[in-house]
Symmetry: C2
Subunit: 286 residues, 2 copies
């Protein structure tokens, strides 16, 4: 089929590379990106077959359109191009929050188009096509949030398309569940990493005293500051709930330290170790 990637940044680029790596020439890969140099690079890499800085003919040819632009740009893109899509095309997104995106898109989606909402749970902290790497999809989770507009068959077909890209587990759920879970596994972790590195008051000394734990916990503190405020804001309630649950656990540990209560600390560490081991055992990805 003909596939159009909208936005050839780190996520769009990873999609294009993973499709090319898994399917070879079976699919024709096209991209729309504002940056002509990026398109040239991807064509030179043989990752895409054709690129346009604004839509000329790509949308009219695309059977599958993958949005890898900022979530709040998707609705406007569809509205602007509503007459340019191929009849019967399937659209999909990669946004990290779903409730708001789904609501916005479902309101305006032309009846001759289908939209499958999806979230590849893999990424890089760096921006741009240059950091796109097909291997980040290997063993990763993918979450599809089924809309009332979706048939079971099209969801199954999309899963069949995705698995060869390397995903280990594709979960079909609803937007509320997705956003609640993501508040914990992705948004809370970013909030923590940011707060950890911002709380360092001796930055120049710190470098001499870091081990792998500090490297790991601050890796995602390098965030795309144009994207994340929007993601946090769209999922405010679930995120605040999770931040508060984290604060409760943190306070419990702090009190045990204050009181020199080694027994309570021991039981807290036993619980966390047990949970982490369970996570490893059910998570096949290394």
């Amino acid at each position: 089929m003909n596939i159009a990637i909208i936005g050839l940044g780190v996520i769009g680029g990873t999609f294009a590379k993973a499709i090319r790596a898994s399917y070879g020439q079976k699919h024709r890969i096209m991209a729309i990106d504002v940056n002509q140099e990026t398109l040239n690079m991807a064509i030179a890499d043989e990752v895409i077959d054709v690129g346009e800085t604004s839509n000329q003919s790509i949308l009219s040819e695309a059977d599958l359109v993958v949005f890898a632009i900022y979530p709040n740009m998707i609705k406007d893109f569809i509205l602007y191009h509503r007459d340019n899509f191929k009849d019967g095309a399937t659209l999909t997104d990669t946004a990290g929050v779903k409730s708001v995106v789904m609501k916005n898109v479902e309101e305006i989606l032309p009846h001759n188009l289908s939209f499958i909402f999806g979230h590849p749970m893999a990424g890089r902290e760096k921006k741009g096509y240059a950091y796109a790497d097909a291997s980040v999809f290997q063993g990763a989770n993918y979450v599809i949030t089924k809309s009332d507009l979706n048939s079971n068959q099209e969801i199954e077909d999309f899963k069949e398309f995705l698995y060869p890209l390397g995903f280990k587990r594709i979960t079909v759920t609803n937007a509320v569940m997705h956003d609640e879970m993501i508040a914990h596994t992705s948004q809370l972790t970013h909030a923590i990493a940011v707060s950890l590195i911002n709380s360092d008051d001796r930055l120049d000394e710190t470098i001499k005293y870091i081990g792998d734990s500090y490297r790991d916990l601050t890796r995602i503190a390098n965030m795309n500051e144009s994207l994340w405020p929007e993601l946090f804001s769209h999922n405010k309630e679930a995120l605040l709930d999770n931040m508060e649950r984290f604060e409760d656990a943190f306070t419990t540990l702090k009190e045990a330290i204050k009181n020199d209560d080694l027994k309570v600390m021991e039981s807290i560490f036993k619980a966390s170790s047990h949970r982490r081991i369970r996570l490893e055992q059910s998570d096949m990805k290394k």
Copy 2:
């Protein structure tokens, strides 16, 4: 020289393996460990030359003694064996907290022995010799906390011995500075990882929604519960200070989310990104 490793767990084992890998047969490596099977394994691996489950002759032959046992066992070990050490031997430790360990040891150290206090900033979340891996020292930090009893020359000699094991940066400082910095880079990070995973209220679902950020931030939540309460307690004040600074940063971000203040979030994320990039630039380890 003859080197004795006291405690052939993950840290002692890593030391033995790194010494063997870097120096080959130049040094004779001996180990005392309560577990005969561990000693047999390390002999079969040609990582150590000789092992004893309790000291017979090893200490009397050792020019360098490396303690890789729980910090609060070091003092008693020295007291118990005070007449067994080789005259003029250098002792060193690997403990993650220094003020308490130094105080305890300095009080009782026999005058014919020297002690260099050290902390390799590298480790594994798993316990035991089987998880020892010489490569974890590659590019890692090492911190030596100089005692009044140490001459500059012996510190220099020890650094020369350590660099070939793979350490990138060896910092000589004092115990107070070490413990304050470690409170941030190591203890706070562990407190955060533990609290994050313990705050998860839907463990069985979580696995479907995790990406690399959650894997990274919870890796160290698997903690040796016999060791860490002691480490936290020995460094209580500095750790509590750092926990509170982290809470302040976390609260600032939480308020911005509550108030939908995208501008404040943006400036918080810009600051954290900037800090993380600085860290990467000065940290040569990948």
